[in-house]
Amino acid sequence: MAVKDTINNAFSCWMGDGPESDVVISSRVRVARNLVNLPFPHLLTSGKGEEVIKLVERAIEKESLKEKIGFLELIRLGELVPLERKILVEKHLISPDILKDYQRAAVVLRSDEIISLMVNEEDHLRIQCFLPGLQLHEARKLVDCLDGELEKTLPYAFDEKLGYLTTCPTNVGTGMRASLMVHLPGLVMVNQIKDMVTNVTKLGLTVRGLYGEGTEAYGNLFQLSNQVTLGKSEEDIITNLIFITRQIINQERIARQALFKERREQLEDRVGRAYGILKHAHVISSAEALRLLSDLRLGIVMQIIKNIPACLVMELILHTRPVFLVKITGKEMSSFIRDVYRAKLVREKLSQAEKI
């Protein structure tokens, strides 16, 4: 079963290399769709919820869809154990919100995890595409294609004035959320990150740290996404997001170059120390691992460290999350034991990568 492979493997295709991947980790486009004449998921009884799942199941069986998109597998979340559901959340294939009512929810996956679909989250359908690097237009095209195939069988709730009707009125219109995961250690180091966040927010984007609370972003990973969904075309929303992100990419590269030129020893020392600790530590907390892996990734893309691929860093970031550690060891652990396993895993993965 493909979904089981997904759960057993910390690596996803979106962690690979893509355009501008020294800064942009991945691109994601998600659209919300609802079926006409059926209550939205939060009002569905479990019987009606199953009705929606069955309709989707039938829709993905269509030959024309299989030709264009490929084989999609549907799994009811109730059939998975809690740990497996949490892993799908960590891999960004389902949202944490869907776990509140997982009994009436399902997930649809293509085996490469680039295309996925949530059934009965906040909306009946959330179609999602994930690609490595800066590839938002490409991601949208894929979502568009699947959306086009689904609408042949599934009648959507649509209003000529308001567009696609969504459960939460803040998503109405295109129902689209486009987002980019970016790695900004340079801007953090030169203390420009707060200004960046303020400016970008003024331009209609949302910024948040991927891990951590408030303004603190462990691992220097940020997510940029559009705020407005109504009154602009999908194309315009994405073009705007890319336009602003390009400026951020430039700023980040300038910061990295400046650090390399003016504080080369400190930078190399920082990267080297991170690499050294990750390679030899025996106890490492989640926060420390994220911080050091961020330094390591910076060192790799700046070619200070040459024998480790950048995509291994993202894989390790995911692999060292508590749920994955529980999955690997097969048991719940105290935080100290988890820190021991985390360090062991990182040591092993890094020494494997060096041998290749």
Partner: protein, 175 residues
């Protein structure tokens, strides 16, 4: 008291979380409290957006507050049965038809949040031709106003005729 999570260190942080009206209290050590924060996923919004939106809906200046429904009695969507009170409490609509039933509540807030209430993006295949026509007419009307403002009456006449023709045409022939 020992930390309820690691059972190894002394608890010195008291955490209360409320999720969907369920209250949970924990005595934690500082390290576990920090880790719990780390473990909560990045995608959880810091402030529940629909509920925040609902608070906007209930506070629209020109409309009665959340405690007084717009219509007498139990104002609700006839399609799914969602009441105005429910909507104003959690900010979520119940079905596509709700958008019509709660139009008066939604309109001003949508305008405020998105700056407009006219969708300009993708349209499902079945609605396509009809909508294209509507959008074209709207587009032409704006141009017409502009032409009148510029006293370009020749173009204005032309535009007016095109609009009339488009509006007179019956529903387009399929596809």
């Amino acid at each position: 008291m020992m930390c309820e999570r690691c059972e190894q260190r002394l608890a010195n942080v008291f955490v209360t979380e409320i999720i969907n009206d369920h209250k949970r209290s924990l005595h934690l050590c500082e390290q576990c409290a920090r880790e719990i924060q780390l473990e909560s996923h990045g995608f959880v919004p810091q402030l529940n957006l629909p509920v925040f939106f609902a608070s906007l809906l209930g506070n629209e200046i020109n409309l009665p507050s959340a405690e007084q429904p717009l219509a007498d009695g139990d104002n609700k969507c006839e399609n799914c049965g969602l009441t105005e009170k429910q909507f104003l409490k959690n900010g979520l609509l119940g079905c596509g038809a709700c958008y019509e039933y709660f139009h008066a509540r939604l309109e001003p807030v949508l305008r405020r949040v998105h700056g407009t209430t006219q969708h300009k993006g993708k349209v499902p295949g079945i609605n396509k031709t009809y909508l294209k026509k509507i959008r074209k007419v709207e587009d032409l009307k704006t141009k017409l106003q502009e032409a009148v403002r510029n006293e370009d009456f020749e173009q204005a006449t032309q535009l007016r005729d095109t609009i009339k023709e488009l509006e007179r045409k019956p529903e387009p022939e399929g596809g």
